[in-house]
């Protein structure tokens, strides 16, 4: 009997180490979190930290560079092109987001009504979102071309203008042109998301408001807008963040020209870092975007804080 018992006891002892480890909630929990943490560190934290670090160095392509503190930022603060790109980015973001919101809300309200061929219209609205950005940018490039522009051609044939418009050659024309391209591309996101929000509003609220004597405008003002405000806050936060960091459209259509008139912080950063080889300076420009983005996020965070009416009972 004693001879038989010994191997069994040994077996129990060996497996108990593993068993004990995997029965411990803390150990098991940590094990489950390892893959997620690894992915976050590798693909989010590391590039971000590297970007911060590069912004503090004079790294060039091919060289490691050395720590120079805030010198990149000091030189940028004296760089008029950098400040122009800051202005351009803010102008681009504010103008495009405001118009995207207006058109998107209008389309969402329209699509929320009973329309003939509604699903087809909805598919058409989504179209700009489906086309790859660079492809649509190239299309806009042609639309804005100084010799082959279809807009100029139509206006000329209609007798409204006498010579072709120089869309991308004049600073303000170029700014408005890229804003228009960005609007075209961003409206579907706003429209479809707001439409989803509109569809969560119970029709009986509109019926009740109707019986309460509300006109169409009053229904929009007192029911639609307040009920939609949480969605609006989310959509516009995303829209602002995406517009502020836009790169593809500008880089394809104007490359930042004419004379830096459409350079955004993102395109300038790319130009200085990759094209110009000054990794450190480019990273510093990118880092300079962070305060703006954090401000936008904070603004929406406080705006987004659930209003009192959305919270559950406290009693």
């Amino acid at each position: 009997m004693a001879v038989m018992a010994e191997p069994v006891a040994a077996h129990v002892k060996r497996s108990s180490l593993w068993t004990r480890a995997f029965e411990s909630r803390n150990f098991l929990g940590a094990m489950f979190m390892v893959p997620a943490i690894a992915i976050l560190i590798l693909f989010l934290a590391y590039p971000l930290a590297l970007g911060f670090w590069l912004g503090m160095t004079d790294a060039k392509i091919g060289g490691a560079g050395r720590y120079i503190g805030f010198q990149n930022f000091v030189s940028l603060s004296k760089d008029s092109v950098f400040w122009l790109s800051v202005f351009n980015t803010i102008f681009y973001t504010v103008a495009a987001s405001a118009v995207k919101f207006a058109i998107g809300l209008y389309l969402a309200l329209l699509l929320n009504e009973r329309l003939p061929f509604k699903s087809i219209v909805r598919a058409i609205v989504l179209l700009p979102f489906v086309v790859p950005t660079v492809l649509s940018a190239i299309a806009f490039w042609w639309i804005y071309d100084s010799q082959f522009s279809i807009i100029s051609w139509v206006l000329l044939k209609a007798g409204l203008i006498t010579h072709y418009i120089d869309f991308l050659g004049d600073p303000w024309n170029a700014r408005w042109s890229v804003v228009a391209a960005n609007i075209w591309r961003g409206v579907p996101f706003v429209a479809i998301t707001l439409l989803a929000g509109l569809q969560t509003i119970s029709p009986s609220l509109y019926e009740a408001a109707n019986l309460d004597g509300a006109t169409n405008l009053q229904r929009f003002r007192h029911i639609t807008l307040p009920m939609l405000s949480p969605i609006i806050a989310v959509v516009m936060t995303f829209s602002v963040l995406m517009t502020f960091t836009d790169f593809q459209l500008i880089y394809t259509i104007t490359r930042g020209g004419p004379i830096n008139a459409t350079h955004l912080m993102a395109t300038l950063s790319f130009q200085r870092a990759i094209t110009g080889g000054n990794l450190g300076e480019g990273a510093a420009i990118s880092n300079a975007m962070i305060p703006f983005l954090v401000a936008a996020i904070l603004l929406s965070f406080f705006g987004l804080q659930r209003s009192r009416w959305q919270q559950g009972g406290r009693d």
Partner: protein, 353 residues
């Protein structure tokens, strides 16, 4: 307060007609309940009355004004929705005062009226709360408060109690009835629950498949149902129906399934052998030596009464006794319907004979 006239109203969705010519007169101050199974068109009719659905043909008038083409907001009606339709982003007080605010009335007047309605409904401590922070019964009361503040010609209720639990439903039933007795506003109330209809209504309108089967006071409908549908719909547990024939030789009797013989008060205007449906309410059975043979299947005591399910001529019937008989499943008993209160319906048309 106003009377309401519904005259030969029809409603079609596309080619599909859901209301086939409905006429209901509603007197000033009356509490009318539209009751029927789901899909009978009662809610559609109410929504037409509110102006939320178009009227395909026929007329609806409120007071002496035909409102077919009048906008909902100009009909001077208030509606309580099944899901209450409270504005979630407004407090209780704002919800109740919204219609007055839209009309541009002064804040003082709004506050006064809201306060008064809140007192009537015991909502005063909740005026600053949001709908999310209220219980089901409180939300229900806010929905009613919103209607009261309007002081409308007609109140419309669309299944207002169906989202409440059973106990609260009974309490709110009483509350709504009490409110009506106090305000005396003409009320149209839609429900699928015949008990709600029976307990609250001055006049019940039983609807089925887009027509009015019968209208009348609760007890009229209970005592003299026009047809088998009404007889089966009103009353709980519902009326027992047995198919069979009238036999007239000397005394009139009813010959039911498997030759079971049941008494009739007198020979109805019907010839011998006419196929009929014999209807008897559960509480109209007694245990008597000259009753028909039955075998007890299930006994369900509720305290105040006992429901007994039994096989009578092979058909299951239910009888309700207030006395406490000692029954066990399998017992043989003799069940006798009270011939003075049995109902006969034509087997083919379901009409009362």
């Amino acid at each position: 307060m106003s009377s309401v006239q519904i005259r030969d109203v029809r409603k079609s969705f596309g080619n599909f007609e859901v209301l086939h010519g409905v006429s209901i007169p509603i007197e000033d101050g009356q509490f009318v309940v539209l009751v029927g199974p789901s899909g009978c068109g009662k809610s559609t009719l109410l929504r037409m009355l509110a102006g939320l659905e178009n009227i395909t043909s026929g007329t609806i008038s409120i007071g002496d004004r035909v409102v077919n083409n009048v906008q909902p907001k100009e009909r001077d009606i208030a509606m309580v929705f099944q899901n209450y339709a409270l504005y979630p982003h407004m407090t209780v007080g704002e919800n109740m005062g919204f219609s007055m605010k839209l009309r541009g009335e002064s804040t003082d007047e709004i506050n006064k009226r809201v306060k008064r309605a809140a007192e009537i409904l015991a909502l005063s401590p909740l005026l600053e709360r949001y709908p999310r922070q209220l219980s089901g019964g409180q939300r229900q009361r806010v929905a009613m408060g919103r209607a009261i503040v309007r002081d409308p010609q007609v109140f419309l209720f669309d299944e207002p109690l169906s989202n409440l639990d059973a106990k609260l439903r009974v309490a709110m039933r009483t509350e709504i009835k009490e409110l009506h007795q106090r305000l005396k506003t003409t009320t149209v109330y839609v429900t699928h629950d015949q008990i709600e209809a029976m307990t609250m209504a001055d006049k019940i309108v039983v609807m089925h498949d887009g027509i009015v089967e019968q209208m009348g006071t609760p007890l009229e409908l209970y005592d003299k149902p026009d047809n088998q549908f009404v007889a089966g719909f009103i009353g709980s547990p519902s009326m027992n129906f047995l198919k069979g024939h009238v036999r007239v030789n000397g005394v009139a009797t009813f010959e039911g399934p498997n030759g079971v013989k049941l008494p009739l008060k007198n020979a109805p205007a019907a010839s011998d052998g006419r196929p009929v449906v014999y209807g008897v309410r559960p509480e109209h059975f007694t245990i008597a030596d000259d009753g028909a043979d039955a075998e007890i299947v299930v006994v369900e005591p509720t305290g105040s009464e006992t429901q007994v399910f039994a096989k009578l001529g092979g058909e299951q019937v239910v009888a309700v006794f207030r006395e406490r008989h000692q029954f066990n499943p399998g017992d043989k008993v003799k069940l006798k319907p009270d011939p003075s209160v049995v109902h006969l319906f034509d087997e083919a048309t379901g009409k009362r004979v």
